[in-house]
Symmetry: C2
C-alpha cells in the first residue's frame, strides 16, 4: 500500500480534543488506502516546561540528560494518539525513537538523523497495523542514549520518514493553512500559495517565516519529498494547504513569490577600520566565536588606508558583538575609531525563483520603497532573493508596498 | 566498591528543590564510598495526570500504550536527578528501563521483572560513574515494548536492583520516617519500630499500612535484601528509619509488633444457602471473576442442609458482589434466601512473629475489645496475625485499646 507521512505540531495536539481531531484526519487517509506514519510533537507548552526544569537544575547541563528529559513529551502524545486511533478502530501503535530505531549522531540536543531502518514498522504494517505513530524530535545515538534533533526537529523527523519509506507525500499539519505571499497580519492582501519551490521555501524559512524548520526543507529538497503545509483546524482536501515541491512541478509562477521580514535586526558599523588584507577575518572570526549570527556585510570604499565596515545581526546579540569587538581592539587584532550600533532596523526580503530569468526586480523593489520615502541602509542579494535593511518603523509599510508593487495578491 | 540502592518516591521528588534535597542524601552515601543506584518515581501528581489522559482517551485502553504514556514521568525525574547530581560534581547518568535493560514479562500495566543484567551499569561504575539513576516502575518486554509494574512498582524496582547488584542495603525514602506500631494519626502512643521482620511487614503492607508495596517486601524476603524505610525530609543516619529484615536479625521483639486497620470494609452474608459439596466454589468463583477482592470468609454451622455464608470485601465492591450473586442465583448455580450487606465495618489486626511462640494473644485481644464494649463480627487468624471485623465507629477506639493492651509504646 502507498505510504503517507502526516506530522502534527504542538498546537495541533495541545489537548485530548485536538488529538482526536488530528486522529480523524489520519482516519480519512487510512480510509483512502494509505499506510500512514504519523509524527507527533509534544503537547504545546510541555517541551518548554521540561526545558525550563533542566535549565533551572543545571544551567550548563549535560546535553545527554537534557535529551532524556525533553524527549518525554513526544512519547506521551504518541501513546495518546495511538489510543485515540484504536478507539476509532484504526489499528495503530506508538513508536519511540529507539524502538524504530531512528539512528542519529551523538550530537546531543542537535543530533542529525543518519538512518531510519524501515523493517520494524514495515513488518507491523504487513501484520495489519494501518498507522505507526512515531514520537518526533528524538532518536537514539550509537551509544544507546536518547538524542533530540533541536527545536522544530519534528518537521525533520517527518521528512526523514517520508524519504526512508518513499512516502507519496509528507503532510505537515500546523496552525496556519499554508504558506502565504507575506504575513497576513501585516498585509490583508496576502494570498495563500498553492505551490512553492523548495529553494523559495528555504529562503522564506531562514528569513523567519516560521512555518517549516529550515533543515526539514533542505532534507525534502535533497530527497525530493513532496511536502505539504496545511492547517489541522480546517477541512482537509487534496488541494488544501501549500505544496512545497521541485520547481519543475510549478508550471506558472510570479517572478516574486513572497515578501518576508525579520523585525529585530541591528546594523553595526565599525568606523574607520585600518584596512589591510585579512581584516575581514580579523573582524568576523571573533564575532563568530562569540556566537554572533552575522547576516549582511557591507564594506565601504577604502580611503587613505581606512574603511567603514557594516554588518547586521539580531538585536539581542548587539552587546555580545560590542564586547567581542572591544576585546579584538584590546588584543591589537583590529583597529577602529568607533563602533556605532543602530538597533532600530528591520530586514525586508523579496523571494522568487522567477528572478533568475527576470531582470529589473531589484530596481522595482528600490523604486517602490523610494516612493514611500523609505531609506535603504544595507542591501544584499542572492540568486532568488533581494534583502534590504530599513528603519524598523517602516517595516509594515515596506511589506505592503512591495506586496502591491509585485502584485502578489494576483495568482500567476 | 559496595553498592547501595536508594529509592525516592513521588513526594520526595515532587519539585526541583526536593530533588536537590534527595540528591544531597545520595551525595552523603557516595562520600562514604558506595556506588549508588538511585530509583526514582515520577514527580507526585504526574502519573495521575497521565493515567487520567489515558482513561479519558480510551476507557478500555490498550495496556501497551498505557505503559508507553505513563512511564514517561519517571524518565523526567531520572534525567533531572542525574543533572542535579552532576551539579554537585557527582558523576551520574540516567537510565531508562530499556537501557539497563530491566527485562519484564509482557503483562502490560502489571508486568513482573524477570531479569536485570548488571553488566551495562557495572561497566559505567568501572568507568567512573558513581551513581546510576534508574527510572522506576518500568521495564521492557521481550517484544521490545515498554512495560510498567503496576502502582507502587518503584519499590519493586528498587528491591530487584538491590538483589541483582547484591547491594548492601535498599533504602526506601518516603514521606514517613519509618514503620510504626500503629498509625500515629490514630494513637499518639504509636512508636517507630527500629526493626521489623519481613513476614510482619508483609502482613502490615497487605493490611493497608501504605509504607511499602507488598510485592517489594515479598521480593526482599525471597532475596534477603535488607530494606530500610526512612524519611526523605529528615536528617539521615545509619540508625534512621525502620529496617525490614530477616527475623533472625531481630534479637528481642514484642509478641505483637503492630496494630493495623482497614477502614472501608463490608460484611456480606448470604442467608440460608443450600449447602452441598462445591458450594464455596460456586459462590467465590463468580465473585473472583467479577473482580471482588474477598478477604475474610466464615461459614456458619449447617442446619438441615442450609447454611449462612459470610465474607468481607472493600465497600466499593459491594454493588459488584451483589450483582455477581444475583446472577449466580439466576443461573441456578447457587440458591440463597437473602444477601445482607453491612457496609459499616472496619478491620483491625494485630501482627507479630512473637505469636508463634506465645499463646494467649487472641484471648488478650478479644478481652481488650470486650472491655470497650466492642462487638466482633468476624475473626480470621494466620500464624502471625489475628484480624477482626468490627463496627467502623469503634475503629479508632479499638486501635488505641489494643495498642495499650499489648503495651506497644514500650520497646522490647
Amino acid at each position: 500500500m502507498p505510504t503517507l507521512v502526516m506530522k502534527f505540531g504542538g498546537t495541533s495536539v495541545a489537548t485530548l480534543d485536538r488529538i482526536k481531531r488530528a486522529a480523524k484526519k489520519v482516519g480519512v487517509e487510512v480510509a483512502k488506502g494509505y499506510d500512514v506514519i504519523v509524527i507527533v510533537s509534544a503537547m504545546s507548552g510541555k517541551t518548554n516546561e521540561l526545558v525550563g526544569w533542566v535549565n533551572e537544575t543545571s544551567p550548563l547541563y549535560d546535553a545527554r540528560e537534557y535529551d532524556a528529559v525533553v524527549s518525554s513529551g513526544e512519547n506521551v502524545t504518541a501513546g495518546l494518539m495511538a489510543l485515540t486511533l484504536q478507539e476509532m478502530e484504526v489499528p495503530a501503535r506508538s513508536w519511540q525513537g529507539w524502538q524504530v530505531p531512528v539512528q542519529t549522531t551523538s550530537a546531543h540536543a542537535s543530533a542529525r538523523i543518519e538512518a531510519i531502518p524501515a523493517d520494524n514498522i514495515r513488518a507491523k504494517f504487513a501484520a495489519g497495523d494501518r498507522v505507526a505513530v512515531v514520537a518526533g524530535f528524538q532518536g537514539v545515538s550509537p551509544e544507546g542514549r536518547i538524542t533530540t534533533l533541536g527545536r522544530g526537529g519534528s518537521d525533520t523527523t517527518a521528512v526523514a520518514f517520508a524519504a526512508a519509506f518513499e512516502a507519496e507525500r509528507c503532510d505537515i499539519y500546523t496552525d496556519v493553512d499554508g504558506v502565504y505571499t507575506t504575513d497576513p497580519r501585516i498585509s490583508d492582501k496576502a494570498r495563500k500559495l498553492d505551490k512553492i519551490a523548495f529553494e523559495e521555501m528555504l529562503e522564506l524559512a531562514s528569513l523567519g517565516a516560521k512555518v517549516l524548520q529550515t533543515r526539514s526543507v533542505e532534507l525534502a529538497m535533497r530527497y525530493k519529498v513532496k511536502l505539504r503545509v496545511l492547517s489541522s483546524f480546517e477541512e482537509q482536501s487534496d488541494e488544501a494547504g501549500t505544496l512545497v515541491c521541485d520547481e519543475e512541478e510549478i508550471m506558472e509562477s510570479n517572478v516574486v513569490s513572497g515578501v518576508a521580514y525579520s523585525r529585530d535586526e541591528a546594523k553595526m558599523t565599525l568606523i574607520s577600520v585600518a584596512d589591510r588584507p585579512g581584516i575581514a577575518a580579523a573582524i568576523f572570526g571573533p564575532l563568530s566565536e562569540a556566537g554572533v549570527n552575522v547576516d549582511m556585510i557591507v564594506q565601504n570604499i577604502s580611503e587613505e588606508g581606512r574603511t567603514d565596515m557594516t554588518f547586521s545581526c539580531p538585536t539581542d546579540q548587539v552587546a555580545r558583538a560590542e564586547a567581542a569587538m572591544e576585546q579584538a581592539k584590546t588584543n591589537g587584532d583590529i583597529n577602529f575609531h568607533d563602533l556605532v550600533a543602530d538597533e532600530n532596523a528591520a530586514k525586508i526580503s523579496v523571494v522568487g525563483i522567477g528572478m533568475r530569468s527576470h531582470a529589473g526586480v531589484a530596481a522595482k523593489m528600490f523604486e517602490a520603497l523610494s516612493r514611500e520615502g523609505i531609506n535603504i541602509k544595507v542591501i544584499t542579494t542572492s540568486e532568488i532573493k533581494i534583502s534590504v535593511l530599513i528603519d524598523r518603523k517602516y517595516m509594515e509599510l515596506a511589506v505592503q508596498a512591495l506586496h502591491d508593487a509585485f502584485e502578489l495578491e494576483k495568482a500567476a
